[in-house]
């Protein structure tokens, strides 16, 4: 680590980052991934209506975005939907994960497989499916008071987010030492107490990670929401899409930037919780956490 800066060693066999072809490919990948996003974010601060000509720094489109009432309503709708769908996905997903981990039952493989379907099926198919479902099977009544009018979208969001929660929680359960649960029961805990006292604390990081994942998935979903949303239930991504159809304004840029920041922040938090759980799984000894 602390070698003298004057002496430069040739790259070691596994020090790929010090070889120029790898460095180049990293730069190219970074440009492809982030250049469009950065351009969009940059022009949200543009003084001019143009989104191609830079004329000066300004926050006026952020102000405009915050004054656009229908945009604010859409944003609030999105947050509400995300909140409820996260809550339901968390409970359903965690329960599914625990059932699949804990018990042996007939059709377990089938259940396991079908749970992954919403993850792999193209969103558009899921969207069309939801459209037909809410038109024919479960027509969601129109004109309900807020937030009941968002029910159909919430149900749709739960159906594609809970498998993600289940996958994350199940991965964490894989590192659970079953003897802990047995020890709790041996000491007098009922099945339920053992679950609450020992299993839940162990999977807590994955519950947080799963919840944040479900939240971001719901917040920026467009396709499925577009097919299930009624005329009076516009969400943020759908609203942005309708604004872009007329013209791309810095206001859209500003709104999108806010969404990106929120999403990135939540994803970062999710990864952090998952990461810390992966680090501590099966780890014994070492520096313990301080109280």
């Amino acid at each position: 680590m602390s070698q003298s800066p004057s002496r430069k060693l040739p790259p070691a066999p596994l020090e790929y980052l010090r070889r120029w072809p790898i460095q180049l490919s990293l730069v190219v990948v970074a440009i492809f991934l982030y250049a469009p996003l950065l351009t969009m974010m940059l022009f949200s601060f543009n003084d001019d209506r143009s989104i191609t000509q830079w004329s000066g720094f300004s926050l006026k489109y952020y102000k405009q975005a915050f004054q656009n009432e229908s945009l604010i309503i859409a944003f609030m709708n999105s947050l509400t939907i995300a909140f409820f769908s996260t809550l339901i996905s968390l409970v359903v997903g965690a329960m599914a994960a625990i059932v699949l981990w804990r018990f042996r039952f007939g059709g377990k493989t089938l259940f396991d497989g079908t749970m992954a379907v919403p993850i792999v099926v193209p969103e558009i198919c899921l969207g069309v499916g939801m459209l037909v479902f809410f038109a024919k099977v479960l027509p969601w009544p129109q004109g309900l008071p807020w937030p009941l009018n968002l029910g159909a979208i919430i149900i749709a969001h739960v159906s594609f987010s809970f498998p993600f929660v289940a996958v994350v929680v199940r991965a964490r359960l894989g590192s659970f030492n079953r003897e802990l649960e047995e020890a709790a029961k041996d000491l007098g805990a009922s099945d339920f107490r053992a679950l609450m006292d020992v299993v839940i604390p162990h999977i807590q990081p994955s519950l947080i990670a799963g919840a944040l994942l479900a939240f971001t998935l719901s917040l920026d979903d467009f396709v499925i929401t577009f097919f299930t949303a009624g005329p009076d239930t516009v969400t943020f991504p759908v609203k942005v899409y309708s604004m872009v159809r007329f013209s791309v304004t810095p206001e859209v840029n500003a709104a999108s930037t806010i969404l990106i920041v929120v999403t990135v922040l939540l994803t970062f938090l999710a990864l952090k919780f998952q990461g810390s759980s992966a680090l501590t799984a099966g780890h014994d000894g070492g520096a313990g956490e301080k109280k």
């Binding site: 003897e179 020890a183 041996d186 162990h202 000894g285 070492g286």
Partner: protein
């Protein structure tokens, strides 16, 4: 004094088609330090888990304290367990870990705390209460697991391979500590282990299991000196096994005619029909080694009551306190001999390819019928 506390009555446990425990009947008395011993997969852990309530017998009954508890849930049994991984709850402090069982029993907070601290004192962890398990060593975590199980004052304490995760020095220390602890608290201990040394050193009585079957239940010395089968003789310690036919069987002596070493003379009768195949098992430390010259041996030279075999030293393992010799005998097979190094020069007494006499007393071989 010998009041039965655990009774297995014709207990069998099958997982699908695999029979883990096969028709085991066993009584364990109050106050015993009982050990279930056997190779991995022999069913000893399954037997222990049936006591704890994590497995239910397919057939037969498990009685604890005179009550049939075959299907009682683990949280309703008067037994507690120390798990192989210790299973100390990582998100609780040491004190909370120990107090957990009392909390489940509804013991009020003050008493809970007092008793948990007492239990920690008992396992020499006084003052460690506020620590988290990941700030403790493996040995300390095991003590937490012990305190946590003992604090509930169970009728029986179950220990699943308690010493297997400790390093050698600590293991020796914990052996003594566990036996002292057992005498102190007076609770029946039942320990599962695959380590014969551990079982011999700690238990008052052992059950040797193999493939789900109970092979022998006896005190450690009886297991070692009077094994009832080739499996037990071979599993406990090391042994030289000579196969032969029972030629003479009188009340005061018997002769086994073996392929490898010729006739083996025994100074006691054997309960077997003459002409049947039997095995004579001789422990390596019960064989003495003497120098041999080229002169052919005379029968009257052999000390009375001893069997004498001619051989040549083939391998030699110096272990400091003792030396292990492998001696080739006429039949071509190798006989293991352990010789304590009584003086500092003893190790030089015998060397490779040296001709030796092996002798063992007529009472030394254990005669095995199966």
């Amino acid at each position: 004094m010998t009041k039965p506390i655990i009774q297995f009555e014709n207990v069998s446990k099958r997982f699908g088609k695999v029979s883990a425990v096969d028709n085991v009947s066993l009584t364990i008395n109050e106050g015993e330090f009982f050990s279930l011993l056997g190779p991995s997969g022999c069913g000893k852990t399954t037997l222990l888990r049936m006591l704890a309530g994590f497995e239910m017998p397919t057939e037969g009954r498990v009685m604890i304290d005179g009550k049939d508890m075959s299907t009682t849930a683990p949280n309703l049994r008067p037994v507690n367990m120390v798990f192989q991984s210790y299973a100390v709850f990582p998100h609780m402090t040491v004190l909370d870990n120990v107090a957990y069982g009392l909390k489940m029993d509804g013991v009020p907070g003050d008493e809970r705390r007092r008793r948990a601290e007492e239990a920690l004192e008992l396992v020499k962890l006084g003052g460690f209460g506020p620590r988290k398990p990941d700030q403790m060593s493996g040995g300390q975590r095991q003590r937490v697991a012990l305190a946590r199980a003992l604090v509930k004052k169970p009728r029986v304490l179950l220990l699943d391979e308690p010493l297997s995760a400790l390093d050698a020095k600590l293991r020796d220390q914990m052996r003594t500590e566990l036996t002292t602890l057992q005498e102190k608290v007076g609770i029946t201990f039942i320990m599962v282990t695959h380590d014969q040394d551990e079982a011999l050193a700690m238990a008052t009585r052992c059950a040797v299991m193999n493939r789900g079957l109970l092979q022998q239940v006896a005190s450690p010395s009886d297991l070692y000196e009077f094994p009832n089968s080739r499996f037990v003789a071979d599993f406990i310690g090391s042994v030289n096994m000579f196969e032969g036919t029972l030629d003479v069987d009188e009340p005061d002596h018997a002769i086994i005619n073996t392929k490898d070493v010729g006739p083996i003379y025994l100074d006691h009768g054997v309960t077997g029909a003459t002409g049947t195949t039997v095995w004579a098992a001789v422990r390596p430390e019960k064989i003495e080694m003497h120098k041999r010259t080229d002169k052919p041996p005379k029968v009257e030279d052999a000390p009375e009551g001893y069997n004498v075999i001619a051989g040549v030293v083939k391998h030699l393992v110096y272990l400091g306190s003792e030396t292990i010799f492998e001696v080739e005998i006429n039949g071509g097979s190798l006989v293991k001999v352990v010789r304590p190094n009584l003086t500092r020069w003893d190790q030089e007494d015998f060397t490779w390819d040296e001709k030796v006499w092996l002798s063992f007393h007529a009472c030394s071989p254990a005669v095995l019928l199966s």
